[in-house]
Amino acid sequence: MRALATVPAMTYLVVLMVIPLGLVIAYAFLTAGRFGGVQGPVTLDNVTRMLEPLYREVLASSVFNAGAATLIAFAIGFPAALAITRLPSHWQTAALIAVVLPFWTNFLIRTYAWIILLNREGLLNDGLALAGLGPIDFLYTRQAVILGLTYAYIPLMVLPIYASLQRLDPQLLEAAQNLGAGAWRRFRTILLPLTLPGIITGCLFVFIPSLGNFVIPELLGGGNSQMIGNLIRDQFLKSRDWPFGSALSLMVLALLIIIVMFQASAARRTRRWGA
């Protein structure tokens, strides 16, 4: 009787999440209708079309941008998370909220803020002009896209890393230091392996939304830094080729599943070494 409590929410999720995802999978193997929509016959054309050089390039560029954003977010986020664990404990919650707060504000506005900063007439170029330099076209470059992705998702890197750093026994680091291990060695042999699950979670939290993003490439990258999200959006809303758009999004999903599996097995291996 009480199990009935699951019925409404699960029905909701099946109808509005599972079925729609099923449709995307099915549409990827159908043909585009003449006026939008889909029709038979079942085909692999959409899959082979993704392998054309044009689309391969966009795909590679998307993985590169999302990967670069993930690495930079890690490089900034890990030391920051470490710094939070070293604060007095009553300050730690406040410090974390301050990290997450921007994430809860409008994502478009946070992206838009960078247009003001990076524009040719923007503040960064004003600063350069004072030093007698520039102007430099920061905006509408691949670097601007990577910066925007890093900025948008870096709070999601800090949280899980903080959580696993907090569980770490500080005596391990003290012991290593007393035994003469330098900072790099302590990082490589203690901090890194023992917080790897948190690092992997953080990396996925940055990489996954970065890969499918189409707003940041459009607003900060201009027309020449398309990512796979832009392609998917265009197939659905402009060229009305839903089957190809579905196939592209399946490619994103497949890529993500491969990465998750690869990282999970890497984490298992590292844990074995650690033990």
Binding site: R2, A3, A5, T6, P8, A9, M10, Y12, L13, L16, M17, V18, P20, L21, L23, V24, Y27, I76, P79, A80, A83, L87, I97, A98, V99, L101, W104, T105, N106, F107, L108, I109, R110, Y112, A113, W114, I115, I116, L117, N119, E121, G122, L123, Y151, I154, P155, V158, P209, G212, V215, L219, G229, R233, F236, L237, G245, S246, S249, V252, L253
Partner: protein
């Protein structure tokens, strides 16, 4: 003291990175000039100008309707789901299904829902956005409420039933009050999430009734305007307040729990 400052340097660097762009937007919203880049003097003119902008006010109206609708559906179904998963029917498969919307690339859900609506003939409107946003909202509310339920002592509910209260009475006078802080926190998060959500709304909203983020997107694509800076500042304020309220609601719960023990 010096070494402590040095040690927290990476954190200050992160804060500078996170807040500098936000502060610039807030600052520029008070710019007297209508150029979005050059500061010429202080003015409040862009705030009242917002009220006269039909597109922005229309977007605000749609967004509020969508956020309220999403919050209602998410709270009711999310709370039920949390109770079912935590108390009645623990299952790893259901756990995964309940968490899926939070980890899936949002563009997949967006195109899937567009395909689904088209297939079954649901017209795009604020309602279709509410249905879409609630997929995320339910997962969020369920996650927050579950944490709370896991910390609640089930013997209170057992005691209530042993003393002759019906299941309904036990729910209203024991379980629900216990969950209240988490429900409030979950509701605020679902509301904020819906308020700011762009990708799914972009695919599932009617072009005639865009949500505020869609209005912002269309206007930002064609350049920066001081009006958008003013709007952005107000939205930042609303999000900050909602998150802080949600935080206080859930912390209030923690302190109550400690007192109870």
């Amino acid at each position: 003291m010096m070494t402590r400052t040095l040690r927290s340097a990476p954190l200050w660097l992160l804060y500078a990175f996170l807040y500098l762009p936000i502060l610039v937007v807030i600052g520029m919203s008070f710019n007297a000039n209508d150029s979005a880049y050059r500061w010429t003097g202080f003015s409040l003119q862009w705030y009242p100008a917002l009220l006269g902008d039909a597109e922005i006010m229309g977007g605000l109206r749609t967004t509020l309707i969508v956020a309220v609708g999403t919050t209602v559906i998410s709270v009711v179904l999310g709370t039920l789901l949390a109770m079912a998963l935590e108390r009645y029917l623990p299952s790893r498969a259901l756990d995964a299904a309940a968490a899926a919307p939070a980890v899936m690339p949002d563009i997949m859900l967006a195109i899937g829902l567009l395909a689904f609506y088209t297939l079954v003939g649901i017209a795009l409107s604020p309602v279709s956005v509410i249905l879409a946003h609630s997929v995320f909202g339910i997962a969020f509310v369920a996650a927050v409420v579950r944490v709370r339920l896991a910390g609640m002592d089930p013997s209170l509910e057992e005691a209530s039933r042993d003393l002759g209260a019906s299941s309904v009475k036990t729910f209203w006078s024991v379980t629900l009050p216990g969950m209240r802080p988490a429900i409030i926190a979950g509701a605020l998060l679902a509301f904020t999430l819906s308020l700011d959500e762009f990708t799914v709304a972009f695919f599932t909203a009617s072009p005639a009734e865009p949500t505020l983020p869609i209005v912002i997107y269309s206007s930002v694509r064609f350049g920066v305007t001081p009006q958008i800076n003013a709007l952005a500042t107000l939205l930042l304020l609303v999000s900050f307040i909602a998150v802080i309220l949600a935080q206080r609601a859930s912390r209030l719960g923690d302190s109550l729990r400690r007192e109870g023990k």
